[in-house]
């Protein structure tokens, strides 16, 4: 049982929890994730470790409320306990001095890049961060990221904050300005990561993406998280979740995220009834 110490609503449908779990905080590295089971009958869902504090023995998770299990997780309050929390999982991000690194976060991916931005800056890289969301109200972590890098750029689909357009437009401009970019890291929705890879491919700039296939055990046992990278099947929970974006079969990843979409509405309705709230 792991106690929730802090809870914040960062944006409409995005929450942040700080949980006391010293053994995970101690071992967590940027890029790692956890599996959370918010109630005994819920799914096992993977969430990135958005921050870890070894001294306080806490980790932060930031999640978008998209379905039944994230809804249940969001129904927990400060002082409540999360019954199961497993981690740190996955390979940590590869951190070293690359030179100039552009780190891109889209949607809830903005929170997921925070530990990497922090570590890349500390390793002496020049870090440019691009974050994007549909509109200003959905932008999160601007302030925190701003503290970790000198160059933070913002895009929104509707232009309500920063540049009107997509994160990939900003990336394109950085590259065509002639700046030498040594590495791009992109974390967010699948279409966003895909487009970023298309932007960097002609310039042969190495692009790391963090994939988010469906996961179950997340310990390398069930095989549901398989993704095709460089023509080979890889298990994202133990061999990823970060991969070379130029090698990823995004089409298959998109297809493999779909199979339960219809029944998941049923699950959400069930949870809403349990929590006595009306489904949106």
């Amino acid at each position: 049982m792991f106690k929730i110490l802090k809870k914040e609503r960062l944006a409409e449908n995005i929450s942040r929890l700080v949980v006391a779990v010293p053994h995970i905080a101690r071992a967590a590295k940027p890029g790692n994730f956890v599996v959370v089971i918010p109630t005994e009958k819920a799914e096992r869902i993977p969430l990135t470790i958005a921050d870890a504090d070894v001294e306080k023995g806490t980790i932060a998770i930031i999640f978008q409320i998209v379905g039944a299990t994230t809804k249940l997780l969001d129904s927990l309050k400060v002082g409540d306990e999360i019954p199961h929390l497993l981690g740190p999982l996955g390979h940590p991000s590869h951190i070293e001095k690359f030179g100039t690194v552009v780190v891109i976060g889209g949607g809830v991916g903005i929170a997921e890049i925070y530990p990497a931005v922090k570590a890349l800056s500390k390793a002496g890289n020049e870090v440019i961060v691009i974050i994007g969301a549909r509109c200003q109200d959905l932008l999160i972590y601007q302030h925190e990221l701003g503290k970790q890098c000198k160059d933070l750029r913002i895009t929104t689909d509707d232009g309500s904050c920063g540049r009107k357009g997509f994160v990939s437009d900003e990336l394109k401009d950085i590259i065509s300005s002639g700046k030498k970019v040594d590495l791009v890291v992109a974390v967010g929705p699948v279409p966003m990561m895909k487009v970023c890879c298309e932007v960097t491919r002609p310039h042969k700039i190495k692009t790391v993406v963090s994939l988010n296939p469906i996961m179950l055990d997340a310990t390398g046992m069930c095989g549901v998280c398989r993704v095709v990278v460089g023509g080979k099947t890889k298990f994202a929970c133990v061999e990823g979740p970060e991969f070379d974006g130029h090698e990823v079969d995004f089409k298959e990843l998109t297809d493999r995220l779909k199979p339960y979409r219809d029944v998941e509405k049923q699950a959400l309705d069930h949870v809403c009834r349990l929590l006595s709230i009306t489904p949106q």
Binding site: H23, K41, L89, T219, F235, Q266, D269
Partner: protein, 452 residues
Amino acid sequence: MTNRSARERISDFNEVPRGYTAEQAIEEAKRCIQCKKPKCVAGCPVEIDIPGFLKFVAEGDFASAVKKIKETNALPAVCGRVCPQEDQCEKECILGVKGEPVAIGNVERFVADWERGTAPAVSRSDRGGGKIAVVGSGPAGLTCAGDLARLGYQVTIFESLHVTGGVLTYGIPEFRLPKAIVNLEIEYIKSLGVEVKTDMLIGNVYTVEELLKDYQAVFIGSGAGLPKFMNIPGENLDGVYSANEYLFRINMMKAWKFPEYLTPIKIGKKVAVIGGGNVAMDAARVSLRLGAEEVYIIYRRTRREMPARVEEVERAEEEGVIFKNLTLPVQYYAGDNGWVKEAECLQMELGEPDASGRRRPVEIPSSNFKLQVDTAVCAIGNSPNPLVPHRTPNLETEKWGGVIVTAEGLTSIPGVYAGGDIVRGAATVISAMGDGKIAAKAIHKQLSAGGI
């Protein structure tokens, strides 16, 4: 032992065999002629004193029988159900030469079930032994932990999943091994003083080296890991599952009670299960119970070569599973919705024997045919769980991933032992338990002699 009717049992998840009555158990036990040099014992990987416990059963003294069994086997209710007895104890029984061997497994199952509800026979010595860490709560880990606890050690099991039991919990379905029984057996191990910590992935949260700082020895029983696939086109389509995923969703996450339990599963009307082992039978029989109309077992050799227990193959057949033997899938095709719709297969014939002594299946050219399916389950095996070996640089493994151990279960790292599927690849419950016992003995010997 009698079975419930096939029609009744495919409509629920309750156990298939009814189990012995006390009279039946006594009668069966009386058949044992109490051999002076019992061959059956040599066939049991944990060396239960079989004539010893059968004698107590014949006398109606079930309590002493249980005690006798538990001297060497902490999980009799499990073994009595899932041991391949026909290849082990019962295969060696002298009565089997001319007639039917004693149904040792069934009697074992009876006494273990009889004991349930009565207080567990706890016998532990408190000699203040050292601290031992066990990785994994499958049969190998549980047995090693139980034995060491009885010897007076302070044992902690680290389990990565949220529930204990390993394959006993997430793999073998309820109708073959009720989870209430697994849980009781685990409670028994805990009653010996073993501490169980779930949600602890060793390698990631603590490395084996780190464990060695706080514990005097480590036993690795982390079991089988990544499922094998055939690497044929279409295998990543929606509707193509690995058996691990399929059974994990159902047994562990209780997807059959969706949406009360929130993990979904989609079982179609026509299910093809690829493989001929116990895992394949379980996946097929689960599918029937969850409403599939046609369930195929697709196996590339013949019934005779099937690795599954004969009993389970027979039960699957009675329940209506359709066997397509000498058949090999080569490609899956999707329908418009992206979901699997057809499996293209090849007809095979048996050729020369291969390294395993079984006749090798050979393709018959141009024998391709298509089978309409909306779910496919790949049950062709797993490789050993790679996590602990990956995170433990000095731990030597075979090329195929198995951890290398001595006859005593010792790995290449002093103080670190291993057993079960992580060493053997896919094996059996009882051989995993046997490994756990051997390692416990070796750990005790080493620590008694003054440590590592």
